[in-house]
């Protein structure tokens, strides 16, 4: 409603706040930076206040270390310049290879099974309860079985990752397969498509589309499972480094490994998102 003294031009523009002067992406980044700085400064300096650290165990530097100590430990890990004379890279390679290999195989097998079962309703009705049952089994509980079968090796990590990622790939691919509209197939048939054409030109692309959509989640889950397997079995990856650091109460090293793992996870996720966008670039 128009109020006295304001022109129509003024009324047609929404009120401009302080934040409107700065573009939102810049403001958002500034706020994120501010938040990170506050957390890091609080983490660094709050535990140095005696009355706080002695009364709140959560802020005791013995348990939570400090950003400066963690960064020193991280640099030491990257360069090999540390008391343990270890570098991150060979361990990282073990974890990464298990994650990527296991996720790729798991997704491929899941997509294949999803394609087969979604193409055969009777077969899918027979096996579906078993697949749901298998998927509901906590995967961490069966990791020791793979370790007993394959020993504390990278192969055990890879198989554990496959066991988790397979179901992710399978259910995505299956949903993709059964989501194909009847009219799509009927249209193809009327245009002269045979069963092989329909499989190659409709079912397979649709199933792969849904499978590719699961790549970022698959990689994230794969990394979690690979590290968990290393933690449980002592396989020489980042998980076993964390296990050793924790056992030796090297809190700064533990946090440094967690930071490294987070960065690796983030890079893998971004890579997976980029891969997904490239593979299904035609999907808005």
């Amino acid at each position: 409603m128009r109020t006295g003294g304001q022109s129509l031009g003024q009324l047609s523009r929404p009120d401009r706040g302080v934040g409107d002067a700065i573009p939102w992406p810049v403001l958002r980044f500034a706020l994120q930076l501010l938040l990170a700085t506050v957390v890091l400064l609080g983490w660094e300096y709050l535990p140095r206040i005696e009355v706080i650290s002695s009364n709140i165990r959560f802020l005791d530097p013995f348990f939570i270390s400090s950003p400066s100590a963690i960064s020193r430990s991280l640099i030491g890990l990257l360069t090999g310049d540390n008391d343990n004379k270890i570098t991150l890279w060979p361990y990282l390679w073990v974890t990464l290879s298990a994650t990527i290999l296991g996720s790729s195989i798991g997704l491929a097998l899941g997509a294949l099974c999803g394609l087969i079962f979604s193409n055969n309703q009777k077969l899918s009705e027979v096996v579906r309860p078993f697949l749901i049952l298998a998927n509901s089994v906590p995967r961490v509980a069966i990791i020791p079985i793979f370790v007993v079968m394959l020993g504390p090796t990278v192969a055990a990590s890879v198989v554990s990752v496959i066991a988790v990622v397979f179901f992710l790939g399978f259910f995505n691919a299956f949903e993709g397969g059964i989501s194909i509209k009847e009219s799509l197939v009927e249209n193809a048939k009327l245009l002269g498509a045979g069963p092989i054409d329909i499989m190659r030109s409709i079912r397979l692309p649709m199933v792969l589309t849904w499978t590719f959509a699961a790549v970022p989640n698959a990689i994230s889950f794969g990394l979690i499972v690979a590290v968990t397997t290393e933690l449980l079995a002592g396989i020489p990856g980042i998980g076993s480094l964390i296990l050793t650091a924790t056992a030796n109460i090297q809190v700064a090293l533990t946090f440094a490994l967690i930071v490294a793992l987070s960065v690796v996870g983030l890079v893998l996720y971004w890579g997976a998102v980029a891969l997904k966008s490239r593979l299904i670039h035609w999907k808005n």
């Binding site: 249209n187 193809a188 002269g192 589309t209 299904i280 035609w282």
Partner: protein, 281 residues
């Protein structure tokens, strides 16, 4: 009949090649006899619900027939029976004189049937992909079709980059690319706004007449039925029978925009509406 353009004549060689591969029986569709005969067609869903009861239609070469009726009266089922996608419970469908030079039958569905991973030109060329034909003749034919509906600039676009109207145009082109004897349209334009729908009616009518395609249109929209057709059939509530058959006297060259101001159009609309109203009230 409007003569095909040079490029379309050239594309006939492509159709011929593909048809021979499919082993379509030779014949002649230009003798004036019906192209498809539906004889006493009946259809019962799941052996329980009688949807269609004794429908007989003679579909003449080159004509566009619209089928209108209440919801659930089996219009789409009738179309699928004509397409051979469903078998009638009773009666027979006889296809006469389907020549070897052209594809038998295509359909434009109500749902979006474009393959999202293919570009516009690849979607339009789907028939040729399925029948193993490729090369310069196919490319030229697809380009000619895209040009007819002003989509040349969108040839390399993916479906998600198109508007709803453009996607429908591509769906129509995909179906008519093999220049079928028979084109079945199952409420293809129902989701479009009125101006876009009239624009597509103009293009669709032009394509059907120019390429000499016989068509059956199922629609809820009486104005659409009158605009595009040479004949309109109204079905009863289920079990469906034909309750009205009306010739549309506007000829093969009609202006879709002016048509709706035509008193004759309004009179036809009124007649069809009164007949349809009896079936839906």
């Amino acid at each position: 009949m409007v003569q095909a353009s040079g490029s379309l004549r050239a594309s006939a060689e492509v159709h011929s090649l593909a048809s021979v591969r499919k082993g379509i029986a030779p014949g002649d569709a230009s003798d004036g006899a019906s192209l498809v005969s539906l004889k006493n067609i009946g259809f019962t869903y799941g052996g329980l619900t009688r949807a269609i009861d004794d429908i007989s239609i003679e579909l003449l070469p080159g004509e566009t027939l619209s089928v209108v009726g209440p919801s659930g009266c089996g219009k789409s089922t009738l179309l699928r029976i004509v397409a051979g996608l469903r078998q009638p419970t009773d009666g027979t469908v006889v296809r006469h004189d389907f020549g070897r030079d052209r594809h038998d039958c295509s359909m434009v569905f109500q749902e979006d049937t474009l393959l999202p991973w293919l570009t516009v030109e690849d979607n339009v060329a789907l028939y040729y992909r399925f029948n193993g034909a490729r090369g310069v003749a196919v490319t030229a034919h697809v380009a000619e079709l895209l040009k007819m509906v002003k989509l040349t600039d969108y040839a390399r676009f993916y479906p998600y980059q198109l508007s709803g109207g453009m996607r429908r145009r591509v769906a129509v082109l995909t179906a008519i690319a093999p220049q079928p004897h028979l084109l079945l349209l199952d409420e293809p334009f129902s989701a479009l706004d009125e101006p876009t729908r009239i624009a597509i009616h103009t293009e669709c009518h032009m394509l059907l007449k120019r390429l000499d395609i016989t068509a059956v249109l199922v629609t809820h929209d009486l104005a659409e039925a009158i605009s595009l057709s040479d004949r309109v059939i109204i079905l009863s509530r289920p079990p469906a029978v034909i309750v009205e058959e009306l010739p549309i006297p506007f000829g093969s060259s009609r202006n879709m925009y002016d048509l709706r101001d035509n008193p004759e159009f309004l009179e036809l609309y009124g007649r069809l509406w009164r007949k349809l109203k009896e079936q839906i009230t």
